[in-house]
Symmetry: C2
Subunit: 145 residues, 2 copies
DNA sequence: TATTGTTATACTCTATAACTATA
DNA sequence: TATAGTTATAGAGTATAACAATA
């Protein structure tokens, strides 16, 4: 392993990460197609780990609240989610996955997982090192100074 | 560093990579906005490192050839690209960046680069290890057996 | 006959604005 | 008066189909 200048490493890292992003996106599309989900529906399904109100889902998905109406309509039509009136605030509707919704969500995650075979060539300790390095790099600085 | 089961590492790695993908996407949008580029135009600009025919760009962008017509129209309108008739095949038009196009492309890449400050907390040797691990994981197996 | 690029058109994703019911 | 959700509508991104010119 020859020593490389920081700029070279940086460029290479960006290329690698973009390449990984491409593979992840491709695999994501395959998984969604297998489960008859469009990208927006899959995103909503993934976000709904816990019940949340529609405005909460909008924030989670970084989209407008009006868009969530259509998403919820379609998820409801497919029997994946229910709109539950909130007992404390009658304006609010809570989105909660049905049994079918939870099941499909699990299957989606399993499919996403299965697609990540590209790092299977790494040994356990290499994988651990990779995770630790990425975590160290990503940690949000906690000092608010 | 306690030893963790492979499944846990895998799940964590996927989460980290998705988080990184999110940051990269955000930074990409900022860079494009600064340079008054839409995502499709930025993608085309990035792809046009070398001159290529329109069908080649379509393949590179994984989109339909008809869509490239509109992309090329807009890039040409902005003075970023030229359509050059191919001397060997009069059906073909080669897309070639103008000086302004090359300049904007460079600036786009510089901006994308500048946004990747999240790994600056890593030491040089950690960065090198990270790159090597990712490269080892990604390498396409060359044995066609 | 097959391929390159273009046009016309339609579909998906998503936001904005105006509205209602409730707080 | 402000907020949660809905509706109507418009705009961006993209594909499909039909076409002209050339191979």
């Amino acid at each position: 392993m020859t020593s490389r200048p920081r700029a070279t490493l940086t460029r290479e890292l960006i290329e690698l990460l973009e390449s990984i992003g491409g593979r992840m996106r491709e695999r994501m599309y395959e998984a969604m197609a297998e489960l008859h989900l469009t990208p927006p529906l899959a995103g909503a399904l993934r976000a709904l780990e816990q019940p949340m109100q529609m405005s909460g889902l909008a924030e989670r998905l970084s989209c407008d609240a009006s868009y969530v109406t259509g998403l919820a309509d379609e998820l409801e039509r497919r029997g994946l989610v229910e709109r539950r009136p909130d007992p404390d605030d009658r304006r609010v509707k809570n989105l909660v996955l049905t049994e079918a919704g939870r099941d499909l969500r699990r299957r989606l995650h399993r499919e996403i997982h299965r697609g990540h075979d590209w790092f299977e060539r790494l040994e356990d300790d290499q994988l651990a090192t990779l995770v630790d390095l990425l975590r160290a790099a990503l940690v949000v600085d906690p000092s608010p100074t």
